[in-house]
Assembly symmetry: C2
Homo-oligomer: 569 residues x 2
């Protein structure tokens, strides 16, 4: 047995081969990797009672080529018709396309794809060239009762793009990914739904060159999946960016939307405010493709002023102190930070260890009374006008100190920014050795925060040898979110499913929302009726019935509108 | 003929007698009056080519007692049943009640009530004691297909409380007017829908005594109708307060809502954010009683810090300069003022004359290049944390000056605050002498503001001898509202109706929203389908069909859901 003091697992450094299952489930850029640090590796061995031996052999890696062996269920006449509508080159029926565009990024999908297990897929994959193509496809599919499931960036963590009923996978990110217009007077941007975050932000940052504007702009929306999510996805799943405390959640920065639905095509009103009855613009947000297809969206944009950014980080003696200070900051009305995060004691301590805190800092902190498994890290930044960012930083620093925090300066915040989008890359490395990392998240009012945190955490920790790191990262005067990250050595898919179900049950039991910003998809669907109550579910179903009487739009369990358990595991 | 240099019309100083038509249409406190100033009187004579002679005799004053002579169309069995449900003392079928609780504050209603003309009324007026009463009434009325129209404060300016189809007038302000709970951790207040603005604000200001809170709070919502509007009315009509630029519109400060509908009773989710599909909380806002009855609402509240208020006022050389500066202020990201208003040249000049600007100030302004019918007044205040209010005032002052404004200090703002709720009181005085004052308002993006302002104004001014004063008073990064006040000597109701229709047509033609914050009611209903498009109207109708399949909830033209022209004129 090969074992040295410096043993390091053979983390994969090779891009998955084209056509393989791994090329589908791998997160992000196929050629980019982020390996667990040596500290993290040591911690995992310790926590999970593993030795270097357990990291000698990889689990199933999914290197096999995708083979489906399932002829499309559509007739050749139907497929021909679709080809005529959008061009033969934009319709695919090959196995790889059908699997790739059926998959998101759930842990279950990764586990199964490693073993070459494929669940529901569409019969045909279509890449519409523009909204007129979408209109033609929806009209035809509605007529023929062919299901249509939308795929944009595929970063769904709740089976949002798995075509439960076959039919068409409609890939809106292939062509419909342009920034169409920047309206500088109104500070709005009209954009196609399939535009990826970085391309959108880059175009706004370069608006003076590209759109002849006087200023550069920012989109204000930076979810962790920023690099592998699209503007349309943000809107239809009710996402939140890491700077949402200042810029607002996705729902707040949508100005108007254009949809193609079986019940017609429409663009919602373009007004900063209107009192003309319930707002269709609001009704469509979060519909997750079940009412129709978002084909264009006008977003609010913001002045791009990175030079004014003020970073901060603090260590609080306790979680209670961090929460109390955060509430005071959010309710004090001196303005809001953009990024604002607090980590609970377990996340704080693991983070400090993993990202390498010098030993003397640890000793200093302990001496000052900031004890391991009690102390809590907070970090963030302030954006906006220069005088505003200085004021907000000064004011929130004062409140932090009043609650016993010490300032750690800008360093931790800057360091966090460097890895803000890359954490998910570690998933494949861990999975190669049978270790799972996954997350569930919830929204909560201040008065229920501790009960919910403790309740869900207790459930997760009741499983032996399971890490549970929690942070709050989206703040409002009325409350915040809780984001639970759990890591475990777990190889039995059925066990994982039960564990996940238990966490969602406990989020529900302890009064959290079923999701703060991941959306519902098919995974959370079964909890929806209990969560909303049957009267409110009936409202969603009435809307569904109106927009899509033939149930062709993302059918099969999405939003809990109908009953369709997820296959597998 | 009596005529002296000091002639002043005999403005009414007597409260209308109980039981009279005048006691119904008079705005606000029956014992409060606000008469046109002598300057205003002189101006009206000049503008409308009137003389003192024209102010010798009053028009119809509506002093007659209300007599209806229309037996209720409900059966005595039905009325008995309703009395059994809510208590005999809470059901009224007398003429006065039936007329009073059918009326809002439109100009048309005033004109007709002066002549003793009564249009649609309910058969019976019910004052529910609590939400359980509401539930019983809705269940029974749904079973019996008896229409139910909600009346809260009766300040509707679009026939929102006129019972188009008879049935029940449900008066929610008689008993259901309490602040039930202040949740200080969450900064929310749970309140009954019929609570009037001043009572609500007063209770929040005194929360430490009343609810044992550490701090005092404010509701942040102060429409001009504050004294005669209720919290529920704000929410279901999508109102805006005068400080909305900072606190948000009514829709922004609703946390959750509880409704009784024919399709069931429910309370929307209590989370600061949630990604669980389209939000029922949003869907219900602005439903104007057509889906069901709001029986409880949880509002966001804010710290009450009047000591930090910073007032400002400016004179801009032109309307363009005022608009450009305002846009810059709203997009600069240093925070927002609370009250923020700009008046167009006509409003500015009439305002200066009416409220008495010393002659030397006028000369000084003219000398400095601030010329009559070009210059524009801006005023407002900043609320929030002390350092924040100072910062925002400093920054917006700098921008104002960059756009050529001179500061007029805090005086104009303070003076405006004194009359902020009392302007509507003048309506009766003017009406006594055949002069109409009315308003229509709209929301608009920056890039369409001038076109809309000029287009609508040109239409109003195309009528000879008609004043048109316009301001913008609710600001967003993407645009603002325009509030048109028109005053004319007009006694022919048919002419008034045509004129009003023409203004709405022109708001539509020049691309404004049909309403920024007055709501739709029955008056704007006929324009809705064109405004939203048939696909979006169909969404509202599908929701209506779901909640209220028997069409008993505020039926008859509300929101344009069905077709029911307003009787009369």
């Amino acid at each position: 047995m090969l074992k040295t003091k410096f043993f390091r697992p053979d983390w994969t450094e090779n891009a998955p081969a084209p056509g393989t299952f791994r090329s589908i489930f791998k997160y992000g850029d196929l050629h980019s990797f982020k390996h667990p640090s040596d500290n993290w590796y040591e911690m995992m061995k310790r926590e999970f009672h593993l030795s270097d031996d357990d990291f000698l052999l990889k689990q199933e890696e999914g290197h096999a080529s995708v083979i489906l062996n399932r002829p499309p269920a559509l007739t050749s006449l139907q497929i021909e018709h679709l080809k005529n509508l959008v061009g033969v080159q934009n319709v695919a029926i090959d196995d790889y396309s059908r699997v790739k565009f059926a998959c998101g990024k759930t842990t279950e999908e990764m586990l199964e794809l490693r073993q070459g297990i494929v669940r529901e897929v569409a019969d045909v994959v279509i890449h519409p060239r523009d909204k007129h193509d979408v209109l033609k496809i929806v009209a035809y599919c509605n007529d023929q009762k062919i299901p249509v499931t939308v795929y944009s960036a595929g970063s769904s963590v709740n089976f949002g793009c798995r075509p439960a009923k076959g039919g068409v996978s409609l890939v809106v990110s292939t062509y419909m990914n342009k920034l169409l217009e920047v309206n500088e007077l109104n500070q709005t941007a009209r954009v196609q739904p399939g535009m990826y975050g970085p391309a959108y932000e880059d175009a706004l940052n370069h608006a003076p060159e590209l759109f002849n504007t006087r200023r550069a702009y920012t989109c204000g929306h930076f979810p962790q999946s920023f690099e592998y999510s699209t503007v349309g996805g943000w809107v239809i799943t009710l996402g939140s960016g890491q700077a949402s405390t200042y810029y607002g959640d996705a729902c707040d920065i949508v100005f108007s939307q254009e949809y193609v639905t079986p019940a017609g095509t429409f663009k919602t009103l373009d007004f900063p405010a209107t009192a003309t009855g319930p707002k269709i613009n609001d009704i469509m947000k979060g519909s997750e493709g079940t009412f129709g297809i978002l084909v264009e969206v006008t977003m609010k944009i913001f002045r791009y002023m990175p030079e004014n950014r003020q970073r901060f980080s603090f260590m609080y003696p306790t979680w209670e102190a961090a929460v109390n200070a955060s509430r005071e900051i959010m309710q004090s009305e001196f303005g809001k930070p953009a990024i604002y995060r607090i980590s609970d004691p377990e996340e704080t301590d693991r983070g400090l260890k993993l990202y390498g805190m010098p030993g003397f800092v640890d000793k200093y902190l302990a001496l000052r009374g900031f004890k391991p498994m009690q102390r809590c890290l907070s970090l963030g930044n302030v954006e906006g006008d220069r005088d505003y960012t200085k004021l907000v930083k000064r004011k929130l620093t004062r409140i932090a100190k009043q609650h016993g925090a010490i300032s750690l300066g800008w360093y931790a915040s800057k360091k966090w920014e460097k890895t803000r989008y890359t954490e998910p890359y570690m998933r494949e490395d861990l999975g190669d050795y049978g270790i799972l990392i996954d997350t569930l998240e919830t929204g909560v009012t201040w008065d229920n925060l501790h009960r919910l945190h403790e309740g869900v955490r207790a459930y997760i920790k009741s499983r032996p040898d399971t890490m549970c790191m929690t942070h709050a990262s989206h703040f409002y005067p009325q409350g915040t979110n809780l984001y639970f990250i759990f890591i475990a050595s777990m190889t039995d898919p059925a066990e994982y499913r039960d564990f996940q179900k238990g966490i969602i049950d406990n989020i529900q039991k302890f009064g959290g929302s079923l999701s703060h910003h991941h959306g519902v998809g098919r995974m959370i669907g079964p909890w929806m009726e209990t969560h909303l109550g049957k009267e409110q579910m009936a409202v969603l179903r009435a809307l569904k019935q109106h927009f899509d009487p033939n149930n062709i739009m993302n059918p099969g369990g999405k939003l809990g509108l109908d009953d369709n358990p997820i296959q597998g595991l």
